[in-house]
């Protein structure tokens, strides 16, 4: 699998995504600076977490106009895989590759802790190595992770099985205490209609090595490498 990790000014998880892809699944991965025009011939584009442009104005609002984004959008429209994590998810919503928006956490505080995710759809290129209803222990760290969309959009996301990860309690139930940021429908991650663009707030790249306390994010990268390597390139 060939992958490009985009670095915006203020990105700070680009390094983590790079290492998860290279060291854990042996991907052929490189950094692409946001001023460049072309993501190049890759199977996967990663928009990493961080604080692009300091999250000033709105998270992702300024980064979405970076020169590289035209090429990222084109890659997505061609059906190429685009993974947006945390700030990357926010950028995907701002640029319109995913519906809705990510608002200030309900608590009005930054939240950094492990959460439990339930795999809602294991039939995407990102989740084929998981089983439906698998429970994942993954760290999240953000101030603006409250997913918002109008009722129609939410209904469509539910109906089309586009909610990929949901926040749950340790026992796998959605209920009091399971929602770390006030997201609508406990949404932690969604895909676009075609299923090639995934946005999620939690950090799978931080759960790929026992020394980090969890390996539950690893299957996501393994799924990609499995599904995308067969898709030609590298």
């Amino acid at each position: 699998m060939k992958a490009a990790v985009i670095t915006f000014p203020g990105s700070n998880c680009d390094y983590d995504c790079f290492h998860a892809l290279r060291d854990q699944v042996g991907a052929d991965v490189g950094y692409v600076w946001h001023r460049e025009q072309e993501v190049g011939d890759v199977d996967l584009v990663v928009l990493p977490g961080g604080f692009s442009y300091g999250d000033y104005l709105r998270p992702g609002a300024i980064a979405r106009f970076s020169p590289i984004m035209e090429s990222v959008v084109a890659h997505a429209r061609r059906g190429g895989a685009v993974l947006g994590i945390c700030n990357g998810f926010q950028i995907l919503c701002e640029v319109g590759l995913l519906p809705g928006a990510l608002l200030r956490n309900e608590s009005l505080r930054f939240v950094s802790r492990h959460v439990w995710l339930r795999v809602e759809n294991a039939r995407t290129i990102y989740t084929s190595r998981y089983n439906k209803a698998d429970l994942l222990r993954i760290h999240l760290a953000h101030g603006d992770g409250k997913y918002h969309a109008d009722p129609e959009t939410l209904a469509r996301l539910e109906g089309d099985d586009r909610i990929v990860f949901r926040y749950v309690n340790r026992d796998g139930t959605v209920g009091p205490g399971s929602n770390p940021n006030g997201s609508a429908h406990n949404i932690a991650g969604i895909v676009n209609e075609a299923g090639n663009v995934l946005g999620m707030m939690p950090h799978p790249e931080r759960a790929v090595d026992p020394v980090l306390g969890s390996e539950h994010g690893l299957p996501l990268f393994l799924s990609l490498s499995e599904n995308l390597s067969t898709a030609g390139a590298a």
Binding site: R58, I62, L103, R104, H148, G182
Partner: protein, 94 residues
């Protein structure tokens, strides 16, 4: 060409929960300001703009707001062309 100070007011869409507004409201209650019944929290931006006329200044800033300053999914915006002195008071400058 002359210089205008344009104010952009960005507020959460009606119907959208506004946790920040509610938190402020709550705090005001605690401080005994019972007369307050609602608080909405938004942004105020002040732009120094070169334009040929107030209308042109307003039109351009509307464009900026549509494109960048406000998020159509969650925010409404209003644009007011002010006269310079007013907003220097409101904190114009580098």
């Amino acid at each position: 060409m002359s210089r205008f100070v344009v104010q952009v007011l960005i507020t959460p869409r009606p119907g959208l929960l506004d946790p920040q507004g509610s938190a402020i409201h709550h705090a005001l209650q605690q401080l005994d300001f019972p007369e307050v019944s609602t608080v909405r929290a938004g942004k105020a931006l002040y732009l120094d703009v070169e334009a040929s006329s107030p209308d042109q200044a307003e039109a351009r800033v509307r464009e900026m707001s549509k494109k960048l300053l406000a998020n159509p999914v969650t925010e409404d915006f209003q644009v007011h062309v002010e006269d310079a002195d007013v907003t220097t008071a409101a904190g114009g400058g580098k």
